[in-house]
């Protein structure tokens, strides 16, 4: 066997091994569910509450992240300005910082005068549902910004320049040219952000707490079931999370564009 074939065989074995490993993880869930019985049977309302809360908060956090990322990414992708590199580094911090640390930072912030002022005038955040949205937002905004910026950078700025030479203001060029041309990347950014928010646990549990039927998102529900040794219940919530994640990946796969695999790769590399 020549060296080229040997190398391909080596790569194939590794790919096969990692695929089998993930399949085994998923199959073990079903096996565990058959073997174990629930200590406390889950009601439909409990499951529905967690799913509804997770979808609601993740959607709000992702929309907020996207709304802020669109203009911010435009500026970062199309312009140079003083301190740009430092600002970018700061905004990408959530990509590499532990969500627990981010949650702790949020908790500390709301214990300071500006944080207390915020809560006094704009509503309670700590140990409340808005805290979930904020925690998820802080964790995912860097990812959203990163993907939207990469998407904008892939659109040739000449299109916007042509639009401006034809009489479009910068705003019109943004809305009528850049956004339509970047729509697939923006959709991918939203889906990635949303999927990441759905799975967010560390920052959420620190800022919003883990109160059953109050701040019980899907990851919190898994945590609560496991901490009370309800493996069956935990597996059920894990399967629901798995379904959501696979659904998101399916959508990403079906978004056109050559960069989809790299976007998914980016997502998987996240802490």
């Amino acid at each position: 066997m020549n060296k080229n074939r040997l190398f391909l065989l080596f790569c194939s074995i590794l790919l096969g091994a990692i695929t089998i490993f993930f399949l085994a993880l998923i199959l073990s869930l079903f096996g565990q569910m058959k073997l174990s019985s629930s200590l406390r049977p889950l009601s439909g309302d409990e499951i529905f509450f967690s799913v509804k809360l997770t979808l609601l908060t993740a959607t709000l956090a992702s929309l907020l992240a996207l709304l802020i990322s669109l203009p911010a990414a435009y500026l970062l992708a199309r312009h140079t300005f003083p301190m740009k590199s430092a600002i970018e580094t700061l905004l990408y911090l959530p990509l590499v910082l532990s969500p627990v640390a981010l949650g702790a930072m949020l908790l500390v912030f709301f214990n300071t005068a500006p944080g207390r002022f915020f809560e006094a005038h704009l509503g309670r955040v700590v140990f409340e549902v808005p805290g979930i949205v904020l925690a998820q937002f802080v964790v995912v905004v860097g990812l959203c910004l990163n993907v939207v910026k990469a998407t904008f950078e892939q659109v040739n700025p000449l299109y916007e320049q042509i639009a401006m030479s034809l009489g479009a203001t910068r705003i019109k060029a943004f809305f009528f040219v850049l956004l339509p041309l970047a729509r697939r990347g923006i959709m991918a950014a939203f889906l990635l952000t949303w999927a990441r928010a759905v799975g967010e646990f560390g920052a959420t549990v620190l800022l919003a707490g883990a109160t059953p039927l109050k701040t019980e998102t899907l990851p919190v529900a898994i945590y609560l079931r496991l901490s009370s040794a309800d493996v069956h219940g935990a597996c059920l919530f894990i399967l629901i999370s798995l379904g959501l994640s696979l659904g998101t990946l399916f959508l990403l796969r079906h978004l056109n564009g050559d960069d989809r695999s790299s976007l998914i790769t980016t997502w998987r590399l996240l802490p």
Binding site: L158, Q161, I162, M164, S165, G167, T169, K172, F176, L181
Partner: protein, 368 residues
């Protein structure tokens, strides 16, 4: 009337230095220069997408450099056309009127006229994907012209067109733009395109406008050695003035016994250093037994053909003689004279077309 005054900018190591240019109403001006000479950068400055250090860009007494890009009313046709891929041909063309708030009637009227002139009626409902290079060019031109720009900027508009089609399209576009009465600033590195389309030509080399003038003047009388080199003249030699009279001046080529006699177009001092340039097509083959014409009699060389190739009805050959010469003759002459590498021939330089330039540092400024 369009006037660019002392436009300057620095981009890293690149400088655009004190660029001055005036375009007449309805003129097709071609700015010719090699890749990297600053042509596209200049267009970006005029469009407002590149900040300039100083200068003015006057169009009917408005300094456009002080205005936002969307208010400048310039048409722009980039080399890759950049048709909006998310819009149909019709929506591409009517994008300008739509963002300017023109009425639908006015837009439809202009679209109708342009579609007829550019013969793109059948393309209007199509997607821009799948259009040929020529179709894309016409659609992009319609998109630029529908807003009735004060000045149309063309950036290498034929670079995406197959070579065989280009020459016909040069004539078509020139005729069309003349018919529409559009003032055009057209940049290209293609000499043929400049010669075919320009009313006047400017040579932009390394950020300097070396020469501006009517096409024939620029191509026949390049004002500087740089311009001569860019226009494809490879026979450029060092010379020292040894004698001169009213009509002609003799240059001795250092370290050889060669003297080149050239027309005297400017006063020279004896022993002044100069550069002597000879266009390849101005070197003629002399046939044995045929009297030599007077304007070929002074600069005669004998040498051996070292290489030879034929392209587009012309044969280019290099000659190893007292001076290394590159010459170009019609292919049928090369065939008739049975030219081939190794053959010895006698040639003469057409004296009236010899170009001379003072050597640095006293080289004259180009007559801009």
């Amino acid at each position: 009337m369009v006037t660019i005054e002392a436009l300057s900018l620095q981009l890293g190591a690149f400088f655009l230095k004190e660029f001055n240019l005036s375009l007449r109403e309805q003129e097709h001006f071609v700015l010719l220069g090699p890749t990297g000479s600053g042509k596209t950068t200049l267009l970006r400055c005029l469009l407002g997408f590149q900040r300039v250090s100083c200068g003015r860009f006057l169009l009917r007494d408005r300094d456009l450099l002080r205005e936002e890009p969307h208010l400048r009313n310039l048409g722009f046709l980039p080399q890759e056309y950049a048709l909006f891929p998310h819009l149909s041909v019709r929506k591409n063309i009517t994008f300008g009127p739509a963002v300017r708030g023109l009425t639908q009637e006015e837009t439809a009227c202009r679209l109708q006229d342009l579609a007829a002139v550019l013969e793109i009626h059948h393309l209007l409902e199509r997607s821009v994907e799948g259009l040929s290079g020529g179709e894309k060019q016409r659609v992009a031109l319609a998109r630029a012209l529908i807003v009735e720009p004060d000045l149309l900027l063309l950036d290498e508009p034929f670079s995406a067109i197959d070579t065989g089609l280009r020459e016909r399209l040069w004539v078509d576009m020139k005729t069309l733009l003349r018919r529409l009465g559009t003032t055009v600033l057209h940049v290209t590195h293609n000499l043929g395109e400049a010669a075919a389309m320009g009313d006047r030509v400017g040579l932009l080399i390394e950020g300097n406008l070396e020469q501006v003038g009517p096409v024939e003047e620029v191509f026949m009388q390049p004002a500087t050695e740089k311009a001569a080199r860019y226009l494809g003249i490879k026979n450029i030699f060092e010379g020292v003035v040894v004698s001169q009279d009213e009509g002609q001046v003799s240059f001795q080529v250092p370290e050889t016994d060669v003297r080149i006699v050239a027309p005297r177009r400017r006063p020279w001092e004896n022993n002044q250093h100069a550069r002597v340039a000879v266009r390849p097509q101005d070197i003629k083959i002399l046939k044995e037994g045929i009297p030599v014409r007077e304007d070929l009699s002074e600069n005669v060389f004998e040498g051996e053909i070292t290489s030879l190739y034929t392209c587009n009805d012309f044969t280019t050959l290099t000659l190893s003689s007292a001076l290394p010469l590159e010459m170009r003759v019609p292919a049928y002459i090369a065939k008739r004279c049975q030219l081939q590498p190794g053959k010895r021939i006698r040639v003469a330089i057409w004296q009236g077309n010899i170009l001379t330039y003072p050597s640095e540092p006293e080289r004259a400024c180009s007559d801009l």
